[in-house]
């Protein structure tokens, strides 16, 4: 039995996650208003499972953990349908937090956002439950998140610009539904929290632009074949997998340019 209080002493100070959490307040209030208190139950359960795994890994590895689990719990809780069976959520969030984050060494070393891994698991595994649908968030609910994440620098503007540029290019070619995506709060939630996640996205400036371009391209193409939520989840998954490669490319180009300049 793990004593809970000493374990919670490993909780790092919360400042890193505050903009992300504050930005989620309005979407949460909106979903709470639309479907009632089931959301709080889901988020509470998801958070309990996440903290359980985090405490276990923190104790085994002697590390600290932050509030990033709360962000992940709220994101997953918001995006799954109200009638989703709780055991599926427990299974999926365990998979997401352990395979998506903790096995890599915790927050800051993960290559994918744990919520994206969780949602991909749900959409893949339980196709009959309608996990690909997602709530109908209005655009205005994401305005605080946009301001807070962009203002605090957690969501890099290059990723957003790249994604919008890709979508614009696609719509000029006559592919996809640009106004439909742009007007959906769900798309902006995915763009701000999944694609522009400071850990899972590319870390060099050219890499960020390329990451945004790739995410926009994939999301635009996937959205023509499925729902917006599954499009952003799988676009974020693929773009996140390619992010280290994009960074490596940017670094290699920089090294070549400098060696040509300086001999």
């Amino acid at each position: 039995m793990i004593p809970l209080l000493p374990a919670l002493a490993r909780l790092a100070p919360p400042h890193g996650q505050l903009p992300a959490l504050l930005g989620l307040a309005l979407p949460m209030a909106f979903v709470l208003f639309a479907e009632g208190g089931g959301l709080l139950l889901r988020v509470g359960l998801l958070l309990a499972v996440i903290v359980g795994w985090q405490v276990l890994f923190a104790r085994i590895r002697g590390q600290h953990f932050g509030l990033e689990g709360m962000t992940a719990a709220i994101l997953v809780g918001l995006l799954v349908p109200p009638a989703s069976p709780l055991y599926q959520l427990v299974l999926a969030i365990s998979f997401g937090i352990v395979i998506g984050q903790l096995v890599f060494g915790g927050h800051g070393r993960n290559i994918l956002h744990p919520s994206v891994v969780t949602l991909a698991f749900l959409i893949f595994s339980f196709a009959a439950e309608g996990y690909g649908q997602g709530p109908d968030l209005p655009l205005f609910a994401l305005v605080p998140a946009f301001v807070l994440l962009l203002g605090s620098g957690q969501a890099n503007w290059r990723i957003l610009a790249g994604a919008l540029f890709s979508l614009l290019g696609l719509s000029l070619l006559g592919i996809g539904d640009l106004p439909g995506l742009m007007g959906s709060g769900l798309f902006w939630l995915g763009l701000l929290y999944f694609a522009a996640d400071p850990v899972a996205s590319a870390a060099t400036n050219p890499g960020r632009l390329a990451h945004g371009l790739l995410f926009g391209l994939l999301a635009g193409l996937f959205a023509t074949a499925g729902s917006i939520l599954s499009a952003i989840v799988f676009a974020a998954l693929m773009a996140g997998i390619f992010a280290p490669l994009l960074d490596q490319g940017a670094i290699t180009v920089n090294i070549l340019r400098r060696s040509r300049r300086h001999g």
């Binding site: 069976p85 599926q88 096995v103 893949f124 595994s125 339980f126 196709a127 009959a128």
Partner: protein
């Protein structure tokens, strides 16, 4: 322990070709959606490996070193063709399920790896035991992965319903992810993690070490 028994038991855990050397992953992904296909391929591979190791070991002093790979592949491929024909004759449906993967035993790294590394330098009896042991190690991993995938992906084991499905009036909702290739990677990864936690000697050296700062930075 008896050396013969050791040759058979070592590759099960301490020198497992899949979890230690990470060989034979391709077929471990492809045939593990059900236990019956995994079992068939395991038996076929173990027999092919054991017999090939014996034959190659018998003629090891006569194989010119420059063409030894070609000779080994020829022997292995001939045995694979025999195994494939036997399956087609006596278990036609199963050979249809396995499709190309029986033929691909010829390219399995475990087979060529054991004949090249062991059978070419050791007498026939030891080589055959080594081949059978490595085949058993491969089979063990395949059967573990296949049992997990079939049980949670379809609720069955060897075709018998273990977990009653919701679609048929039971309570279990099958996880479709388990029947897709990524799940085999994830299960194999977790299995290797488990084995290496229990046997720390199998851990590989770190590829990257974090750069240590020359002096501690004061916050």
């Amino acid at each position: 322990m008896l050396p013969a028994l050791r040759a058979l038991s070592d590759p099960l855990l301490d020198r497992n070709p899949v979890t230690v050397h990470v060989l034979g992953i391709c077929s471990a992904l492809a045939v593990t959606t059900s236990v019956s296909t995994a079992l068939t391929l395991s038996i076929a591979l173990t027999l092919v490996l054991g017999i090939a190791a014996g034959i190659i070991s018998l003629i090891r002093r006569h194989i010119p070193s420059s063409i030894r790979i070609i000779v080994q592949i020829t022997i292995i491929a001939s045995l694979v063709i025999v195994a494939d024909q036997i399956l087609q004759a006596f278990a036609y449906e199963m050979s249809q399920h396995l499709s190309v993967f029986v033929s691909l035993i010829a390219t399995n790294c475990i087979v060529l790896g054991r004949t090249e590394a062991f059978a070419l330098h050791n007498p026939p009896r030891a080589s055959m035991l080594d081949g059978l042991g490595n085949g058993a190690g491969y089979s063990l991993v395949l059967l573990i992965v296949a049992s997990i995938r079939e049980l949670f992906g379809a609720g069955t084991l060897l075709g018998t319903q273990i977990l009653p499905l919701i679609a048929e009036g039971g309570w279990y909702q099958p996880m479709r992810l388990m029947l897709l290739a990524p799940s085999a990677f994830i299960i194999l990864g977790l299995l290797i993690w488990l084995v290496r936690s229990l046997r720390p000697i199998q851990r590989e050296a770190r590829e990257f070490a974090p750069i240590a700062s020359p002096r501690p930075v004061q916050p």
